[in-house]
Symmetry: C2
């Protein structure tokens, strides 16, 4: 549909605009060493590209900037994936050595590094616990009336919660409850826990404890928290260095989304496997219509172990970011297999 020259021009405009954040004129393209057309020719093509909705003009006497559709075409057809630099590889390798004994730590640390390498914001979603299962459950007495409930998932993730016991539940009861729960719940996927809790566990519990409803609801609460994936953020303020966000009001909306976990997770809904790019309004969240989000899922054996997202302006270095995330997701998958399999 597009001529070879038009594709070349679109690519040049996107590249230039990503670098400079300023509208690109026909003359500056014509001056590139790999271009041998006059500004006038390029202007004609630019007019065509604008008619196709791939370019926009901020005002009559300015150059062109890519539209969302233009970025989309660029990402789908024209992009050149950036290789990962030698020094960046070394940097990312470092995390393997440093945080290898803490899966979530490794993932979030990786995200921190990526946010530093790219100067964008990185967002990490912890394991989707829908697919993880319970490895161990324990009640630890703290005082006469309180205990710490500790839940260990098979990913090595640990969640804890202090609970206040109802009157009349002693140390022995506690130990028996913990034993029972371990027996019944070990290996059970999280999404089934509630069911098991209220059928098998409840029956047995009722036989030797009175107020077991209260205890059950406490346990359910404890386990529910585990179901919600954890979110890590890094480099949130990087957005402030982008020239298009030098206006505080625009930035406020974005940072607000980043601060509220539920709204943040909305961004990650209905993502499919692998690397995905969502440009501007494609995100479907009003406040970040001026941003793009590149996401990569990390998984092993069909189990989703985490999602890393990079949020930047629509004028984002897509090639570099995609290259980095591609490398990283492979590396983390390898790390996981070595550690937990």
């Amino acid at each position: 549909m597009l001529s070879e020259r038009q594709r070349m021009i679109l690519s040049a405009i996107v590249d230039d605009y990503i670098r400079s954040a300023e509208p690109v004129g026909s003359r500056s393209i014509s001056k590139r060493s790999d271009v041998s057309f006059s500004p006038a020719t390029i202007r004609n093509d630019m007019a065509d590209l604008e008619e196709l909705g791939l370019l926009e003009q901020p005002h009559t006497s300015a150059g062109r900037i890519p539209s969302i559709k233009g970025y989309r075409y660029y990402v789908d057809h024209l992009i050149q994936l950036g290789g990962v630099k030698e020094q960046d590889v070394r940097r990312l390798r470092g995390l393997v050595a440093e945080k290898m004994n803490h899966w979530e730590g490794a993932v979030s640390h990786a995200a921190t590094i990526v946010s530093q390498l790219t100067n964008y914001t990185s967002i990490v979603l912890g394991p989707d616990s829908f697919h993880t299962s319970l490895k161990h459950f324990q009640l630890l007495p703290l005082t006469d009336t309180t205990a710490v409930a500790i839940v260990v998932a098979n990913t090595g993730h640990v969640e804890h919660r202090t609970i206040t016991l109802p009157e009349g539940v002693g140390m022995d009861d506690m130990r028996r409850i913990a034993g029972l729960l371990n027996e019944k719940l070990t290996g059970v996927p999280f999404y089934k826990v509630k069911t098991v809790l209220y059928t098998e566990v409840a029956n047995e519990l009722r036989s030797y404890i009175d107020h077991c409803e209260h205890i059950l609801s406490l346990l359910e609460d404890t386990l529910k928290e585990e179901t919600e994936p954890k979110v890590f953020l890094s480099g949130a303020t990087n957005i402030l260095t982008q020239p298009e966000f030098k206006d505080v009001d625009k930035v406020k909306g974005i940072l607000d989304v980043l601060e509220e976990t539920p709204r943040l997770m909305q961004l990650f809904q209905s993502l499919s496997e692998g690397i995905q790019v969502r440009i501007g309004t494609e995100n479907g969240v009003e406040a970040i219509n001026q941003c793009s989000l590149v996401t990569a899922t990390i998984s092993a054996d069909g189990q989703l172990l985490g999602t890393i997202g990079i949020l930047g302006p629509t004028r984002m270095e897509y090639g570099k970011v995609i290259g980095l995330l591609d490398y990283l997701s492979g590396d983390l998958t390898r790390l996981y297999n070595r550690l937990y399999k």
Copy 2:
């Protein structure tokens, strides 16, 4: 040193400026219903107050704004503590019911509410583990070569870490190590753990395990992480609504400090008990010279259980903030005593 009228004028200027964020002129003070002096009289006093370093003039033909010294005088001598509103009390009470089974959760949730009530940023430091002691230690096997180490403090706080075991350490060894650690370390304050680990524990461990140095250093790492207090943030973007921070560059520096935990903790160094106010440069951190920090410690039985800080512009509603923190610290102390004592 200051005349009654001068104190009144200073107080009026600070109040007005806190509300409007604009330099206060003599005429606007004279118009207040509780003032019966002409603008000229007030101007004379204002000149005196400026000479004393309590007021400043942005430029010759503008009104006055308080200097840091001026705010200091205001906070020390003139402030009227704001009572806590009925609805705010109800809001804060809610957290007692909601999060009562999770100490750190309760504290950080309280901070979230305060940041919403005040429209400033709230920063929470978890318990200073220098004074907390070890309640329980446990090793939980995960795979053949990995295990989860779980540390429980007497505040009910739980820390965990996945560690990779050296070759040749089996399930039995693990159980024995955990037993030994529990025996030797229970009740030991964190700042003594390292010593005990390398004397008592090391001796016994050496008798039946070979590579115990490796294990010991792993354990030390695990426990070290616990020593660093946790930091929670809420309402970081509130600073963006302040008119004096409508310039992105000023804000960037502040948000950068908030994002980096170590720099953030620097702010909380050398705080004494109770409520403290640090105005502008008194904070000693370059990037937040335009901000004030009000902190309140929460403690019971001489044990420091947490610190809540409110960060806002120097033009902060000191009375309201101090009132809130005062109420809150009392409330949280009561909550703690009921739960863990």
